[in-house]
């Protein structure tokens, strides 16, 4: 898979972004736009990373900025089921502990 695919849906007061494909310097702006939209609408934004095939620093920067904004506005950003490479990428930044991670929507 070479293109980023993001499916958006509302689930009560949660807004869910299902991300599939590579989040890299070429594709991250799509995630950025949809995160901005989601943050304006919902109090909790769930980013499903199960089908992410790459997560570069550009993508992590988007998630960190969203997390900062959420904390400032009393909102939540939760990462759902990060793929192996997404988990490795987050851990390699040293900031993995900052991100709330859930293994299922039911556990939120």
């Amino acid at each position: 898979m070479t293109q980023l695919d993001i499916v958006e849906r509302e689930d009560g007061d949660r807004y869910i972004l299902q991300v599939a494909g590579p989040v890299n310097s070429y594709t991250y702006t799509d995630l950025q736009e949809k995160m901005t939209k989601a943050m304006a609408i919902a109090s909790t934004v769930v980013v499903d990373l199960e089908k992410v095939t790459n997560l570069s620093s550009a993508g992590i920067g988007v998630l960190m900025a969203a997390l900062d904004d959420a904390e400032a506005e009393g909102k939540k950003v939760v990462l759902l089921k990060p793929s192996e490479i997404a988990r490795l990428a987050l851990e390699s930044t040293g900031f993995a502990e900052r991100f709330p991670v859930a293994e299922s929507l039911h556990s939120l």
Binding site: P22, S25, Y26, N54, S56, I60, G61, L88, S92
Partner: protein, 185 residues
């Protein structure tokens, strides 16, 4: 050129460089019988553009002799290096970057980028690349910590931290005919 991770090594310009082979896309060679000490290797010429990152990812995914963890690490660290090259080292001669992945039996893989940039020699010679050959130069880990830049409204330095943590060493070498960056896991 950006500052690269502490932990990188900068070698002085080398002598005559071996010509870089530019084989067909995705070429991969596994050791033949009786060649067990030789490396398995795969090479690809990537277009030096933002879209080239997608080809780089596909290349790493296609390298059969890597484990999944090695593939993930090289995709992440190599992607950051390729992105930095595209953004900060142009014009890249020939409009391409050659990437080669190699691995000897029982060893960890090596990823190499070959290119020619008019600005790389100066960058490789600078002292802001973290650890240099002069081992008295202290690591600059603290200076390399990611930070939020309010002027541009985004985080900076995340990729450098990732490269440092995902690889065992990063080596920069500017040569008379080719510039090279090596990432060792």
């Amino acid at each position: 050129m950006p500052t690269l991770p502490a932990g990188c090594e900068v070698l002085p310009p080398g002598g005559a460089e071996p010509a870089v082979r530019r084989p067909a896309s995705g070429e991969e060679r596994l050791p033949a019988q009786g060649e067990r000490r030789r490396s398995a290797e795969a090479t690809e010429a990537l277009v030096a553009s933002a879209a080239g990152i997608l080809d780089f990812e596909e290349f790493v995914d296609s390298v059969a002799f890597l484990s999944r963890d090695e593939r993930n690490r090289l995709k992440l660290a190599g992607g950051e290096i390729f992105d930095n090259l595209i953004r900060h080292a142009p014009p890249l001669e020939g409009g391409s970057v050659v990437v080669r992945c190699s691995k000897r039996p029982g060893t960890r893989p090596l990823l190499a980028f070959y290119f020619r940039s008019p600005v790389f020699a100066d960058f490789a010679a600078c002292s802001s690349c973290g650890r240099t050959e002069d081992r008295t130069v202290p690591d600059t880990e603290d200076e390399m910590a990611p930070f939020f830049d309010p002027l541009i409204g985004r985080w900076r330095g995340i990729g450098l931290r990732m490269c440092r943590n995902l690889s065992r060493s990063l080596l920069l070498r500017s040569g008379p005919r080719l510039d090279r960056i090596y990432i060792a896991l």
